[in-house]
Symmetry: C2
Subunit: 277 residues, 2 copies
């Protein structure tokens, strides 16, 4: 019987047309399949735990594939990394049960959207976070986010291009974490800032959402809407109305892709195989 | 009288031939002077607080220049950022006394060299840290570093190409900070690792050195030597002998440039103007 191998990968999506193969080429899937071909001599098709759009990143994404190769599981990581470009990395590899399917078996997915509200962009993180020039009201954003938790019809938070038969999804967690990071700022400027933007803060905001599945553009629309909450354009309690309207035009704009990272995918009891150190 | 303006900049050095202008072009200085020309119409020469080699980064570096322009200090940041590529950022700008000189007035400089000892490289930090495939003995490195603190002749830790009349410099501080960062690792692999590399750890190591000045390649040779200490190739107490030998061939190799970042430059009482938030 052919073996079922699962690899956990990460990638910098900046230079790719997303994860999934498409006519235009230059996708993460293409690079993985090229590496597998040179390693095994087999034309292998891989299955990712999800699609990511052009410019979106992944910190930890599971991918599985079938192979006749006898390479021990412990050797796949190094062998594939030697054949992959340096913006894609295989973190680990292991053999999985025959019925394991990276997308269908997944129980929870977590995405992170990062917003830099410092005065200036961070040259070292510029490809992985959106630079929002003005401060945001983090408490209002936290409050707004709570209305999205639970099982809902997320039609207001998906692209009209979505072809899914149902827009009902469950959001298990939605939280904001803030981070202070280098920004040169005189006391005088900080005071002017506090006066000009009352109740708003500078710094880095990481928005984490965990759910059983996400619709097309869903996290980016949540991020774009939360930025309007943080700007004071949408009241936090208004998020429920937007959700109930099931109308994309009621939510905020779709945030740019480069701030988004597929953070983690969980498989419940199916894959208790790896620790994240 | 012409004004003396100081700007604090940061840059991702990956795509540049270092800070300082040179015949081959494509330096950070060139980009700054181009931006100043389009902004002021003046051919301005800037002075950096130090030179960085090709591929080396700067988180915070002071640069000063003279101008006849009447642009208020508070406007320089935004105006220059609009004219600079996105891998160079101006953090702040202010008018300084006529005798301020970004290099000569500097009292202390801090560099950071980052070593990633995780099993796999980090795709998001790959341009800013050196990936050392095996674990290192952090305590031995800490011990070795202590021997470098103080006033010494650093001839063993500079390139033979150095043309400085004196190799005596003072290192005020030298310390290691460790950071745990995502690495997928099974318990079985962690155990095998502990057996294979006793006394050594995985994770991220940030090596910070603060001194009154640094010789050509000095921080990169310190980093390369400390990695050999961490590997167990050089005993920590042997660092004193290497220093006393005043012989470049006794120290370890020059670590690759991309792990190095000019972290901060201090001007004592001269520039108590900015807070780092």
């Amino acid at each position: 019987m052919r073996r079922n191998i699962c690899v956990v990968i990460g990638y910098d999506g900046t230079d790719y047309n997303g994860f999934q193969s498409q006519p235009g080429g230059n996708t993460v899937q293409d690079k993985l399949e090229d590496a597998l071909l040179t390693l095994t001599g087999e034309n292998i098709r891989v299955t990712g735990s999800g699609r990511t759009d052009a410019g979106v990143h992944a910190r930890s994404m599971h991918v599985n594939f079938r192979t006749d190769s006898h390479i021990p599981a412990s050797r796949w990581t190094l062998a594939l990394n030697a054949r992959l470009p340096d913006d894609i990395v295989v973190h680990s590899a292991f053999e999985v049960p025959d019925d394991f399917h990276a997308r269908r078996t997944a129980s929870r997915k977590t995405y992170r959207y990062t917003i830099n509200c410092n005065k200036n962009p961070d040259v070292f993180r510029r490809k992985y976070e959106f630079h929002h020039h003005t401060p945001l009201n983090v408490e209002a954003m936290r409050e707004g986010l709570q209305h999205l938790i639970g099982e809902h019809d997320f039609s207001s938070f998906t692209s009209p291009l979505s072809t899914k038969p149902s827009h009902i999804r469950t959001l298990y967690e939605a939280r904001l974490e803030t981070e202070h990071r280098y920004d040169v700022f005189s006391s005088a400027m900080a005071e002017a800032d506090a006066k000009r933007y009352p109740g708003k803060q500078r710094g880095i905001i990481h928005l984490y959402v965990t759910g059983n599945g996400f619709l097309y553009n869903m996290v980016r629309i949540i991020a774009g809407t939360m930025m309007q909450v943080g700007e004071g354009k949408i009241a936090p309690e208004h998020i429920s109305d937007i959700l109930n309207a099931r109308d994309r035009s009621r939510a905020g704009p779709t945030a740019v892709p480069h701030g988004l990272t597929l953070w983690n995918v969980e498989y419940g009891e199916t894959l208790p195989l790896t620790d994240h150190v």
